[in-house]
Symmetry: C2
Subunit: 188 residues, 2 copies
DNA sequence: CAGATTCGTGTCAGTGACTGACGAAAAGAA
DNA sequence: TTCTTTTCGTCAGTCACTGACACGAATCTG
């Protein structure tokens, strides 16, 4: 019964993913997950705030990398090009995480509770992107809009990339941002 | 003890809002809400799927109006102008609902669980907008992106309008869509 | 108007997510 | 070793949510 915090955390995450895949989210109790990880239910809740949170954990890494990438863009660059450049920077991380992401996908698709949490995580990312843009001098009302729209475009690129991997993520990213520009140009 | 389904539903919603405002969401039990509405906790869950759902109810009306507004736009109009026109159409509904919306706002701002649900509701709206665009011949990958971006722009307009009501919602709507166009134009 | 049907509700029992308090054991430092 | 901190197990408890059953009211039928 090791007392290694990180190891327990990892075992809980793996157990959760395995059980969610095997029986489904609803038919898996937090006690089941804990038992599979060799700990108690109480310990589960010491590591994760709730039954959904154990599913989302690499988010902080993406968040930090993304904010760093935003600040690394040359000053004076307009907000959306800034975000596009930042997204290009994190492509390696996304590609590396693809196997895990693909295992999670069917579980999320099958359980509304996890979809809600995924939306919340995305919204939190948008908030940090908004802050990063504001830190670069983008006015408040525009920063939030650009962060949102940028995230949507990024999500679209990821979705298309996972559906069609003949082109790489960089290509899909540029394509999605081009689609955005053309669509917005029709607004005049 | 009236047997009117709609009346009970309304009383539950009002009781929930009152109690959430008074004690906060976390310190309010579903039993409290039911008692204030003169029914049992079990009846509460016959009217609403969960404790969060009682808070969001006018969504179907907005959804229907919005899809109707989209189909009412002349065919051949590009997706984002279509959405902009549709949003202009539902302005009266939004203005009419403002008092209720403003009462709900502080509660949502204080409770993450309700923020998550609000995001889910918004995502559902985006999904119906995507369908509405597809029904008008917009290709799949573009439809989703435009629906998302359109919703963000709409949300931005609403947010600015609630913060500064010297201009009306129509003005804020046009302003937000202009911001979007200018921001996207910098992408080239 | 009497009877049958349907619908909304109350009651009860139960599961499972989540929390606080306390004690024990392991890990690290002195 | 001994002291301190961290991590875990145990226990008791609250609350969201569900299924099953029964009862009464509204509605439909003849």
């Amino acid at each position: 019964m090791p007392r290694n915090r990180d190891a327990v955390r990892l075992r809980l995450q793996e157990a959760a993913l395995d059980l969610y895949l095997e029986r489904g989210y609803d038919k898996t109790t937090t006690g089941d997950i804990a038992a599979h990880a060799g700990v108690t239910e109480r310990t589960f809740f010491r590591h994760f705030a709730d039954k959904r949170e154990v599913f989302f954990d690499g988010e902080t890494e993406l968040r930090d990398l993304l904010t760093d990438a935003v600040t690394a863009v040359p000053v004076g660059t307009r907000p959306l090009p800034t975000l596009r450049a930042a997204f290009h920077q994190v492509v390696p991380l996304i590609e590396r995480n693809l196997p895990v992401t693909e295992r999670r996908a069917p579980v999320i698709a099958a359980t509304p509770a996890l979809q809600e949490r995924a939306l919340a995580k995305s919204a939190a990312l948008v908030a940090t992107l908004t802050d990063a843009l504001r830190a670069r001098g983008v006015a408040e009302p525009l920063a939030a809009l650009c962060a949102q729209v940028g995230m949507d475009t990024y999500s679209t690129a990821i979705r298309r990339w996972r559906a069609d991997r003949t082109d790489d993520l960089h290509t899909h990213l540029d394509r999605a941002f081009t689609d955005l520009r053309l669509a917005a140009n029709a607004l005049k």
